[in-house]
Each structure stands twice: as structure tokens, then as C-alpha cells.
């Protein structure tokens, strides 16, 4: 591991000020630390934002659930408020990684990293989330740009993620048996305004499957999915799953999700 300077920021302003092109923010460190250890990444400065109290916590308003960026997965999984308003989101958090990861990893870290197989990005898309940063609000649909890529600018810090409470929702995934990341994860959410079917793990970046969304908007039942054709083109193919398998699993898990709604 290469050495780096460690800073513990007392507030968002200080954290932002410390940042540079060779720095990284550290919350749970569940990706950052292994990447440094494996020599895949190196930074001059690590800016720890875990200590910033205002970034952590869960607030429910009438129509939304707002979760602070350094809130840990275990806190979301166990939150009575989340379980009551968006039970599928609590269940998603409960299914991330393993107990060690859930007790350190944070929601903000997960979406800032935007791993193509991570679970949370699908929740953001499905639940029409708004990403609050220290300088602006970003719609989830615009936030995730590509593999490990978001619209966040240098020095920009996620402060909270605000999810719309849907009428019904469910998340189903086929976890990679080794890493337990999603080989395919499908988050179905029915809102007054329409239906989102967010898919993670299948392509280089999470996306909203418009064909499935449309089919379910007209008829919110698993049989509506039968007629939708999912092309395997552009899908990931690796030693764990071929593109063809992933394409098929999107349908299978979308159906499971609808049935579980």
C-alpha cells in the first residue's frame, strides 16, 4: 500500500476545501481501501467524512425518505421508518455484501462509486431519487453516467439521497455467489406517475428498462413481462454469467419482483 495523508474533516466545507485531483473522500472505505491495498488506486490525500454528523441519518417526510450520505447499510436495513415507508429499500440494504460490509459501507459511498453491480444505484433510479450535494440537486436518471462514473465534480460531496415513496416496490437479485454483488438486480417501483424498472449488474451502468416500465404501466402484473423482449446486446459477459443469461434473468427477476410487490 502506498502511503497517503489522512485528514478527518469536521464539516462538509472543510472536506471540500481539502479535496484535489489526487484525493478521495472516505466514508465506509469498502471499495477505496481494498483498491488502495491492491494497488489499483493511489491517492495523495484521503479525506475522511465519516465524522461529519450532518451527513448521517434518515428523515421521512410525507412523500420522501431522505437518507444522509454516510448512513450505513445496516442503519437503512434496520430503520423502522424505511421499513414502514419503503420496505424494499430496507430489504435491499440487508442484502448488500456481508455483515462486515453492511456495518461500514455507506449509501453515499455506494452511489458515488457507481459499481455496475452495486445494489443502491438501482434503488435511486427506481425510486426517482434526488441526489443532494453540497452545491446542487441531481436527478438519479442524470447522476449515473457510466461504469464507475457519475456527474459529481471534483470537490463535490453527496450530502443526502432523497427517495420518493412509491405505491409498491420490490428488489430482486441474483447475487454473484462469490462476491454477492448483483449478477442481475431488478428494482421495480410503481409510482402514481408511472413504473420504473431499474436494472443493475447487467450492463456497464444501471439503467431504467423503458420497455419493461411501459409494459408494467399498462398492466402491473408479471404476465405483462412475458411479451417484452430483452436483447442481450450490450450486456456484460464474464466467467460468472453470459450476456444471454443476464438478459433472461432480467425477465425472471422482474417477474419475481412484480409478484412480490
Amino acid at each position: 500500500m502506498k502511503t497517503f495523508n489522512y485528514h478527518s474533516a469536521k464539516d462538509v466545507k472543510e472536506a471540500s476545501k481539502l479535496s484535489s485531483s489526487s484525493s478521495a473522500f472516505l466514508a465506509g472505505g469498502m471499495t477505496t481501501i481494498p483498491s488502495i491495498k491492491l494497488g489499483l488506486a493511489s491517492y495523495k490525500d484521503i479525506i475522511d467524512i465519516k465524522g461529519i454528523k450532518s451527513l448521517s441519518g434518515i428523515k421521512v417526510t410525507g412523500k420522501t425518505v431522505k437518507i444522509g450520505s454516510t448512513t450505513k447499510h445496516v442503519e437503512v436495513a434496520k430503520s423502522k421508518d424505511v421499513k414502514k415507508t419503503i420496505p424494499s429499500l430496507a430489504a435491499l440494504a440487508e442484502g448488500i455484501g456481508d455483515p462486515q460490509v453492511r456495518n461500514r459501507g455507506t449509501i453515499g459511498g455506494s452511489i458515488a462509486n457507481n459499481d455496475p453491480s452495486a445494489d443502491y444505484p438501482s434503488a435511486c433510479i427506481a425510486l426517482n431519487a434526488v441526489i443532494h450535494t453540497n452545491s446542487r440537486k441531481i436527478d438519479a436518471e442524470k447522476f449515473f453516467k457510466g461504469m464507475f462514473e457519475t456527474t459529481l465534480k471534483s470537490g463535490e460531496i453527496i450530502e443526502a439521497i432523497e427517495f420518493s415513496i412509491p405505491e409498491k416496490s420490490n428488489y430482486q437479485k441474483y447475487p454473484n455467489p462469490a462476491s454477492r454483488y448483483a449478477v442481475v438486480g431488478v428494482y421495480v417501483a410503481k409510482h402514481k406517475s408511472g413504473v420504473n424498472v431499474a436494472v443493475t449488474g447487467a450492463k456497464s451502468c444501471v439503467y431504467n428498462d423503458k420497455d419493461l416500465s411501459k409494459a408494467l404501466k399498462n398492466n402491473f402484473s408479471s404476465s405483462a413481462i412475458d411479451s417484452v423482449r430483452i436483447s442481450s446486446s450490450g450486456m456484460n459477459s464474464d466467467i460468472h454469467a453470459s450476456a444471454e443469461y443476464r438478459a433472461n434473468m432480467i425477465k425472471v427477476f422482474a417477474k419475481k419482483a412484480v409478484e412480490a410487490c
Binding site: M1, K2, P177, A178, S179, I239, H240, Y245, N248
Partner: protein, 791 residues
């Protein structure tokens, strides 16, 4: 005192191991210690044109950088293949040189090129990045099946063929096959596995220039073997100047039986720089450079009569042994494999042909079961197919071909001393509720799931020894075991064993044996192992041998203690030695109430004379002290056997397979500690299910290891399994006085075919291990398509 043999004594070592107070090699530190980091080949096959260490030598903290040229200059010997195999044509096996640091070529990703020794690990690692190696990259040979038709890796080894071995009689097999009503054929792959011991390998070597002694701490299942190899073959130091200590060892599964390049290099380097050199593998290094397991491609045939009687068996196997021939690499796919390939059955004619090939992958060596899982997988999937093709019940066809007379002369090598295979399978069927399967299948079907049932009846040859036999078969070492039982003056006991626990619970099991033999409370007995300076020479722990061979040596040493104790007690009790009997820790004069405890006798042995009230004269000519040593070499292997039944539930929509029910009935002869044995069976089953459903070592076609971390290499986990139903039958072994048979590997031997037979039963298709979700899904889909086409 009640007998401890057979009771569920809690593991004495767990208090230390489970509370973080164990002491592993990585916990050992010396003053003035340096840290080693190995420069490893990033290429699967390349020529080394130049190693430039100039820049790295100037980096901060660097003490020394050593390369293959230095190893050659110092005439440090190469790593060895410990078992000589002859080909069918009588020629000797061909093995390449294996220098601890590569000199001319590198032959797998992870091969050792140089070692950087620095004041800290970070400094060593950073400097290693500055070592410039100029490679000429060559085309790598990766695929097991293609190895013989690929580029030749070593100048003197045509077709990359180590040997082409035959056991059995081709002519007899031909004759048997001509008489057959039906010939059942299979082609299978026994997938390559990575051992993944919980504790990565490590070494810490300390050299004392004034005594010229090296003390090497290392992660070894077999410190005595490490010492003799590093001394006699690598020539690092004479045996009397090399002490090898393997403290607590966190698992090995075979991968820590023998020394690797790192231990040799650390010992040599410590002597060279006159400072301690410490190396601890990180997990990536473990994936790359621990010896892997399995990796066979097999075609096998079974000749049967229409009534299910077996007439003959043959297999043609290609075994990938990786880039170099590791210590047990050549015996694993031959004598540990072939004899067991005819399974637990009467088989009038058989042969086993194995071609071992070199490839540009990590060396492959013994891994839990070593050869017997590959053999059992071959015969048990073949027998299941025979039952399917003949329309017979898989249990019935097995029962029909079991031997019922013991000793049973097995077709290819072994004379099996005891067993009752019919009883084992019957009990397994009863415990598994075999009859109720159809109902459970319907229940699963109502949930949209496919349920399958699979059987495996196995026997295996373990407790590895006897020395005359294994040496005749090409083994370069004897495989007996030693024990020393040492009474301390105050009456408690230290037992030294040449075997070495790396998780098996020897501290408990061996103490139970000694406690029963000597009548000493178990808490007064310590087991000492893992230090070549303490106990006598021994051959370590692998091949399910520690109890049957090492445990017996303890019994024999205790017998000698008791014999001497009788003589001493007779003198103390003023009786004739023939009238002294020993039981429950007391020497008693027959038909009297005169007695001495074994503690009193031990005390007398250490204080022989009269001192005030103490009157303990030794018999004339008797030496003082109470310590005896025994070396035990059994007359035969031990032959555990049993039947396992697995039920799986497959989700045809996703291909995910869940183990729904697992029953294991094993015959391990006499069981010393059921708690320990059940733990061994659980671990073995889990490891075998890992092979069947999850684990797979994957190299790409350039020889890069794709599954080099837990992100990609799937380890089985607790939530993958149901509760297992375990049970035992018992036919004691006749080759050791305890009547025990090895239990450490049985689970890993029996479970892969049981699981795969269940999966194939569920989906009605043949598939290869591991039965991953996608593979199963594809197979289900194909059958669906075919059905709809037929309709």
C-alpha cells in the same frame, strides 16, 4: 476412570484458537527482522533476458535483492518431486528443474523471479516495483486436454508429458468388455480447485552466525519433511543446523505438506544477510502460488451385464500437474487415484491409464482427498449412468456389486481388511428416507422446483503408510509415524507426535488416547508437535494418517511405559513383575490390595533412591527416567467407506441449485471423538459441495488467473447448506490396535458425486462441475426446447 475413547470431549485447543490466542507463523517476530517481498512473473511463460536490480537496490530501506543467478551461484538445489512414477513403457517420469528463484524461464503467473528484502514490508514491496525484468514472452500452454498437442514447454520433455502410466491389465479388460451386454461411457472434467487455507502461507527464518543455526518458522503440515528437504535437497544448511517450527497452522488441505520456494529462499537469505527474513503471503499470492488441486480430464467406461453386474472398468485420464512436478504431484493422479477408480465394487477386470501433463499454470498437488475424490467422482457418476441406462434403481445396482466377504482383494492394488458396504447404504437410505423421495419431489414440483436425489458409495485408501509398499510404488520417503511419551517427575505427561495438527484437534484426540492408555486425567496430558527440535522425526499430517499411524505410535509408546512401570512397581511393591497388573492408572499386585499409582511410579523413576520418607529404589539394571519412543509402520492402509445421499432443489427459471437434504453414513472403524469426527465430516462435505456447485479455478487462454480473489473464486459459505444428517457404522480396522480408519478426507471424496448425481437426476441432463446457475439453466432450457420440439 471411564474410558475417554468414544466420548465427545470438547476440543482442548479451541479456547486458544477461538479467542485469538493461537500463535501462527505471522505472529512470530524477531529483533532486527527484515521483510521479504517476491517479484513474481506476470507472464505464464517467458524467457528471462535480464533482471536489473540497480534502481531497486537504491530504494529506501532495501537490504538485499536476490535473484535466480544468486541461487545458482550458491548452488542451492531445486524443489523436488517426491514420488517417482514409471510410464507404461518402463521409462522414468520426466520432470523439469525447479529452482526456487527462476533463472532462465518463468513458467506460470506467480513464478518466483527475485526477492526484495527490506527494513519494512512497504519498502520491500515498493522496491519490488523497481526491479526491471526483461521478458521474452512465449506462448503459454494452459488447457489440460490440449497440453500434449501444444508448444513444448521444456526442451527435454516432449509433448509436455511427465509420464503415461498404467495400472491394470489391458488384455483382461478387453476380454471383459467383449462379454458385456452394454458399455456405459462418460467424459468428465474434474475441475481445478484452489485450496484457500484460512491462514496464508508464511515463513520467518532466523540465522545465528555464531552457532550457524537456522530456525525456520513456517506454515507446515509437516515440519520434519520441510527440514529434510531444505537440508538434504536444497542444501541450505545441514539437518543439525536447521530447526523447523510450525506453530499453530490455520488449515492446509494438503497445500502445506511440503516446503515451497519461499521457505527455501527465506532460510537461505537469512543466512546470507545474517538477519531474520520474514515473508507472509497476501491472499493474491496464495491464489497464484499455493499448489492447486484436481484438474483431470477423464474418459471412463464400465462394462455391464443387463442384470447390472459389473464386468470391467477402464479410464483414460489426462492430469494437469501445472508448471513443475511438486512433491506429491505425481502420486496424486496415479497410486492415490487409479486403485480407487473401480470404486467400492467387485470388478473382475480394470485398468487405469493416466497421462500427466505440464502446463503454464501453478503446480497442482495433493488437495483434500488427493486422487480419491477424482476416482470416486469417475466411478460414481458412471455407476449412476449405468443404473439410468439399465433402468435400475441406483441403490440396487450398487448393492448388487458390493463385496460382502472381507478381507476383500480389490481389483487393482488394495486388500481391504474390513467393511460392510451393504449395511452402510441401507442405513443411509433409511436415514435419508429414500422411499419418501417421490413425495418430496412432488412437493418441490408444486413450488415450480425440480428435485433430484443422488447417491455415492465410496471407499478410499488412506492412513498413508505402509512404508515398504509406498516405497516400492516410488515414494521417496517412508511414511511411518513416531511418538514419544514423556512422564514428567510430578506425574503429568507430555506426548510428542511426529504428525502435526493444522486444525484436526490432535491436542484433544491424542490426549484422549494417552489418558485411556495411561490412566492419567486428560488435563494432565499435553500434546507437543510441530518442532523438529522437540519430538522425534515424523512424517506429518495428510492422507488421513495422523490417528491411524500417529495415534497408534502413541499407544505403542504407552505400552512401553507400562512395561517399564510394571518392573519398577514390582520392586516398589516387593512383588514378582509377572504378578503386577496395570489398569486405570494403577499397578496392582494380583490377588492383593498392594498397589502404586502410575504417578508414584513415575516419581520413583526420577528419584531413584531413599531420601527420608521417600523410598523408591529402582530395580537393578533399570535406567532412571520414564520416557519411551515408538515408531509405528502399519501393515496396511486404512479403508474408510460409506454412502452419502444428497437431495437438491433446482429452480429451472434461474438454474440456482440448493442442497435440500444431505445424509452421510460413514464407517471410520472405532471413533475416538465423535465431536471431532463430525466436524471433519462437515468440513469435508462442505468442501466437496464447494467443488460440485461453486469452486472453479479459471485461467484464461494466455495463462492469466482470472479467479485470483474472492470476488471471482466462489468459496462455499454456511448459508449454502442445510443441516447434515450424519451417522456411522463400524467395522474396526485390523491394521492398527485402535481399530481406527481415517476420516479427514471422506467428506470431500463422497460429496461431489452425490451432489452431481442429484443435480443430474433433477434436470435429466449430464453437466460438469461446478453446476453453476447458468450451466444448470442452460441445461434445463435445452431440455425444455427439445421437449417442445418433440411435442
Amino acid at each position: 476412570m471411564a474410558s475417554l475413547v468414544g466420548s465427545r470431549v470438547e476440543r482442548k485447543e479451541d479456547k486458544k484458537l477461538l479467542t485469538g490466542r493461537g500463535k501462527y507463523t505471522a505472529d512470530v517476530n524477531f529483533i532486527n527482522q527484515t521483510f521479504a517481498y517476491f517479484v513474481r512473473s506476470p507472464h505464464a511463460r517467458a524467457q528471462i533476458k535480464k533482471v536489473d536490480t540497480a534502481k531497486a537496490m537504491k530504494a529506501q530501506g532495501v537490504v538485499s535483492i536476490l535473484t535466480g543467478a544468486d541461487i545458482a551461484n550458491d548452488k542451492i538445489g531445486g524443489l523436488i518431486a517426491g514420488w517417482r512414477i514409471k510410464s507404461e513403457d518402463g521409462s522414468d517420469m520426466k520432470v523439469p528443474a525447479h529452482p526456487p528463484l527462476a533463472n532462465e524461464t518463468v513458467n506460470y503467473v506467480g513464478d518466483h523471479v527475485a526477492v526484495v528484502i527490506a527494513e519494512s514490508l512497504d519498502e520491500a514491496r515498493n522496491a519490488a516495483e523497481l526491479v526491471k525484468v526483461d521478458y521474452k514472452i512465449l506462448k503459454a500452454v494452459v488447457d489440460t486436454n490440449e497440453a500434449m498437442n501444444s508448444d513444448q514447454i521444456y526442451k527435454d520433455i516432449p509433448k509436455n508429458l511427465c509420464f503415461d502410466w498404467l495400472l491394470g491389465d489391458r488384455a483382461k479388460v478387453k476380454e471383459a468388455f467383449e462379454k458385456a451386454d452394454k458399455i456405459i461411457k462418460i467424459d468428465l472434467i474434474n475441475n481445478r480447485l484452489i485450496p484457500n487455507a484460512m491462514e496464508p502461507r508464511a515463513a520467518n527464518a532466523d540465522y545465528n552466525p555464531s552457532t550457524e543455526e537456522i530456525t525456520l518458522y513456517t506454515t507446515s503440515q509437516n515440519p520434519h519433511l520441510a527440514r529434510i528437504i531444505i537440508s538434504a535437497f536444497n542444501g541450505v544448511a545441514p539437518e543439525n543446523k536447521l530447526r523447523v517450527i510450525a506453530p499453530d497452522v490455520g488449515g492446509g488441505f494438503g497445500s502445506k505438506i511440503y516446503p515451497y520456494a519461499e521457505e527455501v529462499v527465506c532460510s537461505w537469505a537469512a543466512k546470507k544477510i545474517e538477519r531474520p527474513v520474514k515473508w507472509v503471503a497476501d491472499r493474491t499470492e496464495s491464489f497464484l502460488s499455493d499448489c492447486h488441486g484436481r484438474d483431470h480430464v477423464t474418459h471412463a467406461e464400465l462394462a455391464v451385464k443387463n442384470d447390472g453386474t459389473f464386468l470391467g472398468f477402464k479410464n483414460e485420464t489426462i492430469a494437469n500437474i501445472g508448471a513443475y512436478a511438486s512433491v506429491f504431484a505425481t502420486v496424486t493422479p496415479t497410486y492415490l487415484f487409479g486403485p480407487c477408480a473401480t470404486g467400492v465394487y467387485k470388478m473382475p477386470a480394470a485398468y487405469s491409464n493416466v497421462k500427466a501433463v505440464f502446463t503454464n499454470t501453478a503446480p497442482v498437488d495433493a488437495y483434500r482427498g488427493a486422487g480419491r475424490p477424482e476416482a470416486t467422482y469417475t466411478i460414481e457418476t458412471l455407476v449412476e449412468k449405468a443404473a439410468r441406462e439399465l433402468g435400475m434403481d441406483p441403490a440396487e445396482i450398487r448393492m448388487k456389486n458390493f463385496p460382502t466377504q472381507f478381507p476383500f482383494q480389490q481389483t487393482l492394488v488394495h486388500s481391504v481388511d474390513s467393511g460392510d458396504y451393504v449395511a452402510g447404504l441401507k442405513k443411509a437410505m433409511e436415514v435419508a428416507d429414500y422411499k419418501g423421495f417421490e413425495k418430496r419431489k412432488r412437493d418441490s414440483a408444486s413450488k415450480g422446483k425440480l428435485r433430484g436425489i443422488g447417491l455415492c458409495s465410496y471407499f478410499e485408501a488412506c492412513g498413508i503408510a505402509p512404508s515398504p509398499v509406498v516405497m516400492m510404488l516410488g515414494c521417496g520417503i517412508g511414511l511411518w509415524e513416531s511418538a514419544e511419551v514423556r512422564f514428567n517427575p510430578t506425574g503429568n505427561v507430555t506426548v510428542f507426535t511426529g504428525s502435526h495438527s493444522h486444525g484436526q484437534g490432535h491436542d484433544t484426540t491424542f490426549a484422549q488416547i494417552a489418558a485411556d492408555q495411561l490412566g492419567v486425567p486428560i488435563e494432565n496430558i499435553e500434546i507437543s508437535h510441530g518442532d523438529t527440535d522437540k519430538g522425534p522425526f515424523g512424517y506429518g499430517t495428510y492422507g488421513s494418517r495422523s490417528l491411524t499411524v500417529g495415534g497408534t505410535a502413541i499407544v505403542k509408546a504407552c505400552d512401553k511405559i507400562i512395561a517399564k512401570g510394571k518392573r519398577v512397581a514390582a520392586k516398589m511393591l516387593e512383588a514378582n513383575v509377572d504378578d503386577v497388573e496395570f489398569s486405570n492408572g494403577e499397578f496392582v499386585v494380583a490377588k492383593s490390595n498392594k498397589k502404586k499409582t502410575i504417578g508414584e511410579v513415575a516419581f520413583a523413576c526420577y528419584l531413584p533412591g531413599t531420601y527420608g520418607e521417600v523410598k523408591s529404589p529402582l530395580p537393578e539394571g533399570e535406567e532412571p527416567g520414564l520416557k519411551e519412543t515408538s515408531f509405528f509402520d502399519p501393515a496396511n492402509f486404512s479403508f474408510p467407506a460409506g454412502s452419502h445421499i444428497c437431495e437438491v432443489e433446482v429452480d429451472p427459471e434461474t438454474g440456482e441449485t440448493k442442497v435440500a437434504k444431505y445424509t452421510a453414513i460413514d464407517d471410520f472403524g472405532t471413533i475416538i471423538n465423535p465431536l471431532v469426527v463430525e466436524g471433519q465430516v462437515h468440513g469435508g462435505i462442505v468442501q466437496g459441495i464447494g467443488q460440485a456447485l461453486y469452486e472453479n479455478c479459471h485461467y484464461d487462454n494466455t495463462g492469466q488467473l482470472v479467479t485470483a480473489s474472492y470476488m471471482d473464486y466462489t468459496m462455499p459459505r454456511a448459508d449454502n447448506f442445510p443441516e447434515f444428517d450424519l451417522g456411522f457404522t463400524c467395522t474396526p480396522a485390523t491394521s492398527n490396535p485402535l481399530g481406527t480408519k481415517g476420516c479427514g478426507e471422506a467428506g470431500a471424496i463422497a460429496s461431489p458425486p452425490a451432489v452431481m448425481n442429484a443435480v443430474m437426476n433433477a434436470i435429466g441432463k449430464e453437466i460438469s462441475m461446478p453446476a453453476t446457475a447458468e450451466k444448470v439453466w442452460k441445461a434445463c432450457n435445452q431440455s425444455k426446447k427439445k421437449n417442445s420440439e418433440a411435442a
